[in-house]
C-alpha cells in the first residue's frame, strides 16, 4: 500500500476551477452598494518640501466626496518590521522623497471624477536637491533624505566570522570583483487594489490584494486609531505577490480613511503604471566580493561589501541587508566570512522583499565569481560546487543548523545537462553555446521579529467534508492547495472534500502571511496538528462505535477502520454524522498552532540560526549567444529543488518553472530605465519593462528532490522563494561558458555582450 493517498500526488489546485472560469474574485472585481472610487495624487518631484496643499478646488468638483492629505491622518509611519521604527507616512507629511510618493487622495462617485479632481489639487513644493546614486548618497554633504540617517545609511550590518585574511593567505586563487544588479519589479499582473467600508459600529471591513493580510490587520488599526479587532481583513484572490504585496500600502490605508470620512465604501485600484513607477522593487546592489579558494577547490574565505540602493524609505530593508550577508555563504561550507552591508536611502522608488529577498543578488555575484575561480584553477564548475556543498548535520559559521540537505543530489542531477553539449553539433560561426550552473540554499520559515506562529482550524462539516481555516495567504503560489492536501491526508479524505476558506481576520486564526517561504513549513505544520486534532476527536467517537481504542483507528480513503482488524470499519461520513448528531452532538473542530523554536538572529552581527530548516537546489542553463547582435537565448534549463517532501510535485514544478521566468528576466531582460534627473523609471509599462513572454522562455525540466525534513509537515520544506535564487547565475555562467567573458552587471544585455567581446578581442 502506498504511504499516502493525497500528499505527494499531482492533484489540481483547489482554486483552479474558479480561476479557469473567471468566477474567482480579486479585489478590483469587488463592488459594494454606494461605493466610491479613490485615486492617489503623487509627487512629481524626487525631493521636495511640501509648503501647502490646497484641496479647495477639488472638493468643490461635483461628485467629489472627500479629499484627504496628511493632516487628516494620525501621522503613523509604516515600514521597518524589525524595529518598528517606520519612516514612511501613508500620505506625505512635510516632504516628498521620490517621484510617485503619495501626497493626497480623493474619493468620488466614479473613477473619472476622482481623476479629474486630482488635477484640481494644488500643491506648493519647495524643491530640494536629490540624490539617486547610493555611493553618492553615502558621501559627506549629499542631500539628506531623513534627518535621523547620517550619510543616508538606513542601516548596516557588520558580520565577522573566522579569519578571512588567514583564509585568503591559505588560498591558491583569490579574486576580487565588483558585481552590480539592477532594480527589478515584482511584475505581478494584478495591480494593487483595496476596498474598505466603515460601518456604524465603528468597524472597518477591508478586502485587498495582500499576500500578508496580517500586516494590514496589525497596521491599519494603529494608523486609524481603532482597536485591533475593529478592523476586519478579508482575503479575496490575489493575482501574484512575489514579496511585493506584503506591506500595508498607502492605498490600503487611504481607502479606509476615505471610507471613514465619507461613510461609504471606497475602492482604490492602482494602474500598472503606478505599480511600475511608484511601487516597490528589488534592491539594486553594488557588490564587492572577494573569494579565496584552495587548489583542490575548497573555499577558504569570502569577504563582501554590499551597498543596496534601497530608495526613499526603509520598508523591510533591515532584513534585506541581514539576509544578503547571512545567506552569502549558503549553500557552501565556508569557514571564514566577512560582510559589510549597507542599505542606503536615495530618492528612488522604495525596495522591499522580492522572491529570494536579497539572496538572488548575492548568489549572482558569488556563483559567477566561483566560476571564474574554477576556470583559473582549472576545476569543473560542477565539481567545485560538489566539493563545497553543505551536508546534513553541518553548521555554518554564522550559526545556521543544516538538518536536511539534498544539495549534492540536486547538483548531480543538474550535472546531467553536460550531455547536452554533445547534441550541439557544428554551430554557425556567429553562434556560441554554453552551459552553466547555479546552486543555492534558502530559509524555510524563518524567525523575523515578533512572532512567527501559525494557527489553523479544521472544521468538519456534517457531510464529511472539511474546511481548513488559516490566516496563511495563497497569493498564487498554491498554498491553499498544499495546506488542503495536508489536512485531507491526515483525515484520509480526498482533496475534493476540502472546502476553501479565505483568510478573514475575524474568523481565521493568527498567521503572519506569505513571506520567507514559511507557509508550507510553519502553517503546514499548524494545519497538520489541527487536522490531527479533528481526527482524534472523531477517533474517540469511532472507537466507541467500532469497539476499539482511538489510537487503533486508521483514517484512509474516506473509511475509518481498526488497524489490525480492517473488517471493523465504517465510512468517514457515517462517523461524522454519528459524532455530530448523537447524544448532545459534537462540534468537530480541530485546532493547531505551530512556531519553530528559534531565537531572533542578531541582524547586525549576523549570529544565529534564523530558520528551522533550509531548502537547497541547483539550476542549470543552456544558452546560445548570437555574436553578431549579442542576443542571448536561453535554450534549455534544468531546475532541481530540495523541497523536503513535495506535497504536490506538479505544484513544486510550477514554482520552479515560474522562478525561471523571474530569474531569466532579471538576468537578461528586465531593468528600470532611468530618465535624466528625476530617478523616475522611463519604462513603467509591460511594453518597455520586459518581463519574459512565452517566446523568451526555454523548455524547462523541473524536478523536486526529496529529503524528508525532520520537522516539516510530512517532511516538507519550501518551494516558493528559494527556487528563484540561482536562476540568474545559472544563466550568466552559461554565457561565461559560451564566451569566456563574464558580464558583471545585470541585466546582461546584447550591448554588454558585444562590448565584452570587443574588449576581449583587444586584449
Amino acid at each position: 500500500m502506498e504511504e499516502f493517498t493525497v500528499v505527494g500526488k499531482r492533484l489540481p489546485r483547489v482554486d483552479a476551477v474558479v480561476k479557469a472560469t473567471g468566477e474567482a474574485m480579486y479585489a478590483a472585481d469587488m463592488e459594494l452598494p454606494g461605493m466610491l472610487h479613490g485615486k492617489m495624487l503623487r509627487s512629481p518631484h524626487p525631493h521636495a518640501r511640501i509648503l501647502n496643499i490646497d484641496t479647495g478646488r477639488a472638493e468643490r468638483l461635483q461628485g467629489v466626496k472627500a479629499v484627504v492629505t496628511a493632516k487628516d491622518t494620525l501621522g503613523y509611519r509604516y515600514g521597518d518590521l524589525i524595529l518598528g521604527k517606520g519612516d514612511e507616512p501613508f500620505l506625505a507629511t512635510e516632504k516628498v522623497r521620490f517621484v510617485g510618493d503619495e501626497v493626497a487622495a480623493v474619493a468620488a462617485v466614479d473613477e473619472d471624477t476622482a481623476e479629474e479632481a486630482l488635477q484640481l489639487i494644488d500643491v506648493e513644493y519647495e524643491l530640494l536637491p536629490a540624490v539617486f546614486d547610493p555611493l553618492e548618497a553615502m558621501e559627506e554633504g549629499a542631500p539628506l533624505l531623513h534627518e535621523h540617517a547620517a550619510n543616508n545609511i538606513a542601516c548596516k550590518s557588520t558580520m565577522r566570522f573566522g579569519d578571512v585574511e588567514a583564509g585568503f593567505r591559505r588560498s591558491d586563487c583569490v579574486r576580487e570583483d565588483r558585481f552590480e544588479t539592477q532594480p527589478v519589479c515584482h511584475a505581478f499582473l494584478e495591480p494593487h487594489a483595496a476596498l474598505a467600508t466603515y460601518d456604524s459600529t465603528g468597524k472597518i471591513t477591508f478586502w485587498g490584494s495582500k499576500q500578508s493580510p496580517y500586516f494590514t490587520y496589525r497596521n491599519m488599526p494603529r494608523a486609524l486609531g481603532l482597536e485591533l479587532s475593529k478592523v476586519r481583513i478579508v482575503q479575496p484572490f490575489i493575482g501574484g505577490g512575489f514579496g511585493g504585496k506584503n506591506e500595508m500600502f498607502s492605498l490600503d490605508f487611504t481607502a479606509a480613511l476615505l471610507s471613514m470620512k465619507t461613510g461609504k465604501p471606497v475602492k482604490i485600484v492602482y494602474g500598472q503604471e503606478e505599480v511600475l513607477s511608484a511601487g516597490r522593487q528589488r534592491n539594486p546592489t553594488i557588490m564587492d566580493i572577494k573569494t579565496g579558494v584552495g587548489k583542490d577547490g575548497t573555499i577558504m574565505a569570502i569577504k563582501c561589501r554590499i551597498v543596496a540602493n534601497g530608495g526613499a524609505y526603509i520598508s523591510i530593508g533591515r532584513m534585506t541587508r541581514y539576509l544578503m550577508g547571512s545567506v552569502l555563504a549558503l549553500p557552501y561550507r565556508v569557514p571564514n566570512l566577512e560582510y559589510d552591508g549597507y542599505r542606503v536611502y536615495t530618492n528612488n522608488q522604495v525596495c522591499c522583499a522580492q522572491r529570494g529577498h536579497g539572496v538572488p543578488q548575492v548568489r549572482y555575484a558569488a556563483e559567477s565569481q566561483l566560476d571564474m575561480i574554477a576556470r583559473e584553477l582549472d576545476i569543473d564548475p560542477l565539481d567545485i560546487r560538489l566539493k563545497n556543498a553543505l551536508q546534513p548535520g553541518d553548521n555554518t559559521v554564522n550559526g545556521f543548523r543544516i538538518t536536511s540537505c539534498g544539495l549534492t543530489e540536486c547538483l548531480q542531477k543538474a550535472g546531467e545537462i553536460k550531455k547536452w553539449r554533445e547534441e550541439w553539433g557544428e554551430l554557425p560561426p556567429n553562434k556560441k553555446r554554453g552551459i552553466g550552473f547555479g546552486a543555492y540554499g534558502f530559509v524555510s520559515g524563518p524567525r523575523v521579529a515578533g512572532h512567527n506562529t501559525a494557527g489553523a482550524m479544521v472544521k468538519v462539516h456534517e457531510d464529511g467534508a472539511i474546511s481548513v481555516l488559516t490566516g496563511a495567504t495563497d497569493s498564487g503560489q498554491g498554498s491553499d492547495s498544499c495546506l488542503s492536501q495536508i489536512a485531507a491526508e491526515v483525515l484520509g479524505l480526498g482533496l475534493d472534500k476540502v472546502r476553501l476558506v479565505m483568510p478573514d481576520s475575524e474568523v481565521t486564526p493568527l498567521d503572519p502571511g506569505t513571506f520567507g517561504s514559511r507557509v508550507t513549513f510553519v502553517s503546514g505544520n499548524a494545519v497538520w496538528i489541527a487536522a490531527d486534532d479533528a481526527r482524534k476527536q472523531l477517533a474517540e467517537v469511532g472507537a466507541e462505535l467500532l469497539g476499539a481504542h482511538p489510537e487503533e483507528l486508521v483514517f484512509r480513503n474516506e473509511q475509518v477502520f481498526v488497524r489490525d482488524d480492517p473488517e471493523k470499519n465504517m465510512p468517514f461520513t457515517k462517523l461524522v454524522k454519528s459524532a455530530c448528531y448523537s447524544g448532545t452532538g459534537r462540534t468537530i473542530m480541530g485546532r493547531g498552532y505551530f512556531a519553530p523554536e528559534l531565537e531572533v538572529p542578531n541582524y547586525e552581527t549576523g549570529e544565529g540560526n534564523m530558520s528551522a530548516t533550509y531548502s537547497f537546489g541547483a539550476q542549470a542553463a543552456e544558452v546560445e549567444v548570437d555574436t553578431d547582435t549579442g542576443k542571448i537565448t536561453v535554450t534549455r534549463m534544468k531546475v532541481l529543488h530540495d523541497c523536503g517532501r513535495a506535497i504536490n510535485p506538479m505544484h513544486v514544478e510550477g514554482q520552479l518553472e515560474g522562478s525561471v521566468c523571474g530569474g531569466l528576466g532579471q538576468a537578461l531582460l528586465e531593468d528600470k530605465i532611468k530618465g535624466k534627473d528625476t530617478g523616475q523609471a522611463s519604462n513603467p509599462s509591460f511594453m518597455e519593462y520586459k518581463l519574459p513572454s512565452a517566446v523568451d522562455m526555454p523548455d524547462i525540466e523541473s524536478e523536486a528532490v526529496e529529503t524528508i525534513d525532520p520537522v516539516g509537515p510530512f517532511g516538507a520544506k519550501e518551494s516558493g522563494e528559494g527556487v528563484q535564487v540561482s536562476t540568474v547565475p545559472a544563466i550568466t555562467n552559461a554565457v561565461y561558458d559560451a564566451l569566456g567573458v563574464m558580464v558583471k552587471t545585470l541585466p546582461v544585455t546584447p550591448e554588454k555582450i558585444l562590448k565584452a567581446l570587443e574588449k576581449e578581442n583587444e586584449e
Binding site: 518631484h45 547582435t629 530618465g675 520586459k690 550591448e751
Partner: protein, 335 residues
C-alpha cells in the same frame, strides 16, 4: 493610466462621408482605425480630440486586391492579421506578410490596421508617457513646449518612427493614396514620411490615407525585413532593416534601381540608404559588397537615447542588420 478622455464618435459608412466629416471638424478631429496606438495616447492625454472618426465601418476600406499587371492594392483599414492571411500576399509578397507578423501580438494584429501602422506616431521615452509621468519635467517640443529632453538645447524633436510595415513597403516601391473632400492624391510611401518627429507624416488634417499599392514583384527580385528586439514577440523594433535586391545568375542584377535598403527605428522616418543600388549592382553577393552598404548605412543615422537600445548599440547594429537583410533578400530572390 487615466481613463479615456471625452469625445464625440463618428462612424462614417463611406469614404465620401469620411472626407466630409474631416473637412467639417478639421483639427478638432482625429481618425481612429484599429486604435491600438491612438487609444493609448488618448489615455496618456497625448491626444484629446473632440471628434473621433472611425474608419472601421467605411465600406471597402479593408479590401485587398491583386492584379498581375498593376500589383497589390490594400485598403488602409485592412487589419494586419487579415494581411497575413491574405492569399495573394502570402503568395506574392511573403516578406510583407512576415513584416506584418512582426508587429505586436496576435491580439494587436487582429485589430491594428495597415494604415494605422504607416501613420503611427513617433515614439520617445519622454513622450509616450501618461500626463502624470510627464509632470516631472517641462513639456517638450512634441507636447507643446520649448525643450527637448533627449538632445539638450535642440530646437527639434527626435522622436522615432518605428512602424514595422513601412520599410518593407518602401523597399518594394509602394505608393499611398490620400483622400479628402477635394479629391485624392497619390504619393510614394517615402514621401508620406516627413522626417519631423513632431508631425511624422504628410497626411493633412482634412485628409485620410485610403489605399496602399505595391507594384507586382519584379522577376528575380527578393525582399526581406529583419527586426531586432529584445523579446522576440510584441516588442517594437530596437531597429529594423528592409532590403530589396535583384539577382541574376547568382550575382546581383545590373540595374541600380533593383536595390533598396531602408532603415527603421533609427530616426523620425524610415531612412533609405542612398546609393545602395550603385554599390551593389552587378557585384557578387558577398560580404565585401554588403559591407560597403553597411558602413554607408551606419554613417547615415544618428539614433538618440529615446527608445529601447542605447544609441551606441543601435548604431553598432546598423551594419549587422543591413548585411542580414541583404543576405536574406538575396536568398529570397534566388529561391
Amino acid at each position: 493610466m487615466r481613463r479615456m478622455p471625452r469625445f464625440e464618435y463618428h462612424a462614417p459608412a463611406s469614404a465620401g462621408e469620411t472626407a466630409s466629416l474631416l473637412s467639417e471638424y478639421g483639427d478638432a478631429a482625429r481618425l481612429i482605425a484599429g486604435g491600438t496606438d491612438l487609444l493609448i495616447s488618448m489615455k496618456q492625454r497625448l491626444s484629446t480630440p473632440e471628434h473621433l472618426i472611425s474608419l472601421s465601418s467605411v465600406t471597402g476600406l479593408d479590401a485587398v486586391d491583386y492584379d498581375e499587371k498593376t500589383g497589390l492594392r490594400m485598403g488602409a483599414a485592412v487589419t494586419l492579421a487579415s494581411l497575413t492571411q491574405s492569399p495573394p500576399i502570402k503568395d506574392k509578397y511573403p516578406a510583407l506578410e512576415a513584416a506584418a507578423r512582426k508587429v505586436g501580438s496576435v491580439q494587436v494584429r487582429n485589430i491594428a490596421t495597415l494604415g494605422g501602422n504607416l501613420c503611427l506616431d513617433t515614439r520617445c521615452w519622454y513622450y509616450n508617457q501618461s500626463d502624470y509621468w510627464r509632470q516631472s519635467r517641462p513639456p517638450c517640443h512634441k507636447t507643446g513646449g520649448e525643450v527637448c529632453h533627449v538632445v539638450e538645447g535642440s530646437k527639434r524633436c527626435f522622436a522615432v518612427y518605428s512602424g514595422d510595415t513601412a520599410p518593407i513597403l518602401m523597399a518594394m516601391g509602394a505608393e499611398v493614396k490620400l483622400m479628402s473632400g477635394g479629391g485624392e492624391r497619390v504619393i510614394s510611401l517615402g514621401e508620406l514620411f516627413t522626417g519631423d518627429g513632431l508631425r511624422p507624416n504628410a497626411v493633412e488634417p482634412h485628409e485620410f490615407l485610403s489605399e496602399i499599392s505595391v507594384p507586382p514583384p519584379a522577376a528575380g527580385s527578393g525582399v526581406a525585413y529583419v527586426k531586432l528586439r529584445l523579446r522576440e514577440e510584441v516588442d517594437f523594433p530596437i531597429m529594423g532593416v528592409a532590403a530589396r535586391v535583384t539577382m541574376s545568375d547568382g550575382a546581383f542584377g545590373s540595374a541600380p534601381q533593383g536595390f533598396k535598403v531602408v532603415l527603421n527605428a533609427v530616426g523620425s522616418a524610415p531612412v533609405e540608404v542612398e546609393g545602395a543600388g550603385e554599390m551593389l549592382a552587378g557585384k557578387a553577393p558577398e560580404q565585401a559588397a554588403l559591407e560597403e552598404v553597411a558602413q554607408v548605412a551606419r554613417a547615415s543615422v544618428h539614433p538618440q537615447a529615446n527608445t529601447a537600445g542605447t544609441p551606441e548599440y543601435r548604431r553598432m547594429m546598423v551594419p549587422v542588420l543591413v548585411k542580414h537583410a541583404l543576405t536574406e533578400a538575396a536568398a529570397a530572390a534566388s529561391s
